[in-house]
Amino acid sequence: MGSLVVLIIIVLACIAAPLYESSIAHTDAFTSNVAGTITINGQTVPVLEPSTEGLGLGVNPIAPTWTAQYFLGSDNQGRDVASRILYGGRNTLIIGFASAILCCVLAGIIGIVSGFFGRGVDAVLSRGLDVLWAFPVYLLAICLSVVLISSSLTIGPVTLSSASILLPIVIIGIVYVPYVARPIRGQVMSLREREFVQAAVGAGAPDMRLLRREILPNVLPTIIVFLPLMAAINMLTEAALSFLSIGVQPPDSSWGTIVNDGVGLLYTRPWVAIAPGILLAITAVTLNLLGDGVRDALDPKARLRGAA
């Protein structure tokens, strides 16, 4: 329950990003403000402050003010880091959840069809999953991202531009399909041999009815348990891709892109990298805890085992 509350707070904060940007930060989170200034304690100072010590080399983004404007300081483009973190959280969460849904839907279909029909259908689908599984997941995601972000993805009449967040959603959603489809396939194969399914078969139920009435209701809890877990994994994958500049494209942000922005400022402005990193970690942990909670809620046997 606690994890759900934390997650809701994070989600609400991210949803409120435009409000924070316009009413509190009073800066544009997506426009460079290299030559901008800010008033602190009655003094006007540049957002990017040239060093005045020694030889006066280098320019430092303004440090966290811990006040409304530039609460967490600025990045190297003079943009408000706090605003960008909230906007970035929207992208990270959207990509994480959307790709988890896509992954679970695809994996559910493939796992159920493969496990239920078996034989030739299973052989073809399983070998397809094996091929996908043969690639290290990050390597595959990186390859797809590099290719698709340098051009764009066209599927029939639909074209996803290289800057669209639909691209990382599709890429991440696809690369994790085998990880979800495999256990579902195994579960369906097991269910198919159970007495209640065999009884329905004996009663002459057609395949579609078996799938709809006997298999799907028993597989659905597993898929639902997978959802938050995959969302957490996918968020981390998105952050990794964005950190490598092959996920969310500038001027949009995600927690991964902001960590990347902060790497070059680690010595002087560590908060730029640390803050999105902490949020990413908290969100991933809460999603994992939520996944466990959902599993417990949907699996009475597990609860009984826990009680014993």
Binding site: F30, P50, G54, N76, Q249, L266
Partner: protein
């Protein structure tokens, strides 16, 4: 060239032909003399009038000889072959290892632009209307493998330029008689009638097809270094070629280290051209991150790092280690080429809008601040031959950069009818280039375009943006002089002959070719043979005319930071080849 001189300049310049040289007043000339002095003797700079005094050459101090100098770089710079490598990183090392017939003076400051005789006894007067040079070789010079230097080595070295397809074969050396045939069939290159050795007299005669006032400069870069006749007729790769200079290469593994030791057969013949070095050994180690390199130099575990210090360490080294930091102005500039053959920048108003919109001071900040760069409005960097202060796109108006005018830019974009078009900014994927790219993207969005930024590996970005097939609309790039001549910026970067559609070696990235301006440049080149002052005025006019057409956005001229350890002494900065590595003291 670029700081990482990638082999790109060559082919595109085949037709650039006789590039201009020299300068007036305080500006350098290949011969170290003023234009007037040179032109009084012959139509081209004359050797006899050329060699200035050597008062700027520091005497050798044996008390500091010895020790091991440790240099650091994130990565190696590719082949060790001096005829093929085109990177500053290794050209710096070639100064203490290889020699040409002539050399840029190995000194600190302005004098380093002066050409002095190296393996040749003197710089000869030209004959045959400026088309023939007769060099007499110094006697008694040996290669590091013990072989004597002969005229055969010189002749084969010039042939080797073409046989190994040196990146500048088609641009710097295509004026040698016989070069055309060598470019067509490199493997059978003889340069017959072009480079002729006379073993008995110890002379080498070089015949050109036309006078080339910049030829002495071209003889002084590593691609014209003299290698033994036995050197392979293909890229030697990681195998060191014997040297004539103070040092030789002992071993080279691009993944780990390059080791240089003293050349046992070296005896100093000209301190200005090839001075004896101080360290006994120079170890160039590869593989650390730049952050770790900075820390190593701070901790005295290494003497110098090649890579620019990261932005977040600049303030630290500029304050805590100020006495170990050397900041030097470069004759170079950062600019944004605008493709005049592609929408939206095929529209003059759209190009001018970008020039009005980009805040040069903002880019200076992204580079590291006003102490590391200076905003520019012209193609020729301040202080360069032909430079005249002139700023057409600044608000308020002035001869130097004052500020951007976004409103005017928006108005021009609207008038051009290009608002709302998609624009992609292509940048290299290092920290500073990416930051500049993001800034440019932001500005383009503000003035009415839909901009994207695409960062690609620095190893390929420079060639990628040159190829018109890649349909690059706007990019962020840099140009560092090959040698101090206005033509090396104006004619090379925006001359008609520098644009080769569909080629990776099309240095005129804007695809700009204005017949009228080209005629002005041709006239300036011709004028250089008679009056450098007059020619420089013409170059200034060319610069102004080009900026009216706005094929690029000049943004800033950078400075270079050398950070050395506290135990390292005798720092000297050559404006031509940067820090003199072998002159550093570690004892």
């Amino acid at each position: 060239m670029r700081l990482h001189r990638i082999a790109t300049v060559g082919v595109s310049l085949l037709a650039v032909g006789a590039l201009a040289a020299c300068s007036s007043g305080s500006s350098p000339s290949p011969s170290g003399s003023s234009g007037a002095a040179a032109s009084s003797a012959s139509a081209v700079p004359s050797g006899s009038a050329s060699v200035g005094n050597d008062s700027d050459v520091r005497p050798y101090d044996p008390a500091h000889a010895g020790g091991t100098l440790t240099l650091l770089a994130k990565g190696a710079a590719g082949t060790l072959d001096p005829k093929v490598n085109y990177t500053l990183q290794f050209w710096q090392l070639y100064q203490g290892t290889y020699d040409g017939l002539t050399a840029f003076k190995h000194v600190d400051g302005e004098g380093s632009f002066t050409v002095v005789p190296d393996l040749a006894e003197s710089i000869p007067d030209t004959t045959n209307g400026g088309k023939t040079y007769v060099f007499k070789l110094r006697q008694g010079i040996k290669f590091s493998d013990g072989a004597d230097l002969t005229t055969d080595d010189v002749v084969s070295s010039f042939q080797r330029i073409f046989k190994v397809s040196s990146p500048t074969a088609g641009s710097f050396y295509n004026g040698i008689v016989g070069a055309d045939a060598c470019i067509k069939a490199p493997e059978t290159c003889t340069l017959e009638g072009g480079v002729v050795g006379d073993k008995t007299a110890g002379t080498v005669t070089i015949n050109l097809t036309a006078p080339d006032p910049e030829f002495l400069y071209k003889l002084s870069v590593p691609h014209a270094a003299i290698n033994p006749k036995s050197a392979p007729t293909k890229d030697a790769g990681n195998t060191p070629i014997p040297t004539t200079g103070a040092y030789m290469f002992k071993s080279y593994d691009p993944n780990t280290a390059l080791v240089m030791v003293r050349n046992p057969n070296f005896k100093e013949w000209s301190r200005a051209a090839q001075p004896a070095g101080y360290p006994d050994e120079i170890d160039y180690k590869f593989g650390l991150t730049v952050e770790a390199e900075v820390t190593a130099v701070e901790n005295n575990q290494a003497n110098w790092l090649y890579d620019p210090p990261p932005a977040d360490r600049l303030a630290e080294i500029g304050s805590k280690y100020a006495s170990q930091v050397h900041v030097n102005q470069l004759t170079a500039f950062w600019y944004l080429p605008l493709n005049v053959n592609l929408a939206p920048f095929d529209n003059l108003k759209a190009r001018q809008a970008v020039n009005w919109a980009i805040d040069r001071n903002a880019i200076v900040k992204l580079y590291g601040g006003a102490n590391l760069a200076q905003p520019v409005c012209t193609i020729l960097p301040p202080g360069f031959p032909g430079y005249e202060a002139n700023c057409q796109y600044t608000n308020p108006a002035g001869d130097t950069w004052q500020g951007a005018d976004l409103e005017k830019a928006k108005q021009l974009v609207t008038e051009s009818g290009t608002a709302g078009q998609e624009v992609t900014v292509i940048v290299a994927d290092d920290e500073v280039n990416k930051a500049v790219g993001e800034y440019v993207q932001s500005v383009l969005n503000q003035i009415g375009y839909k901009a994207k930024v695409k960062a690609i590996s620095g190893n390929i970005q420079f060639t990628y943006i040159q190829n018109s097939n890649n349909k690059v609309q706007i990019s962020v790039t840099q140009w560092y002089q090959d040698y101090p001549a206005a033509s090396d910026f104006l004619n090379v970067l925006l001359g008609c002959a520098s644009f080769t559609p569909g080629s990776d070696s099309s240095i005129n990235m804007s695809g700009f070719c204005d017949k009228k301006i080209q005629a002005q440049m041709d006239d300036a080149l011709k004028t250089e043979q008679t009056s450098f002052d007059e020619a420089n005025k013409k170059w200034a006019a060319v610069d102004k005319a080009m900026m009216e057409q706005s094929p690029m956005v000049p943004v800033m001229t950078p400075k270079l930071i050398d950070f050395i350890s506290k135990d390292t002494g005798n720092y000297q900065f050559s404006k031509q080849f940067y820090m003199l590595v072998d002159q550093l003291w570690v004892k």
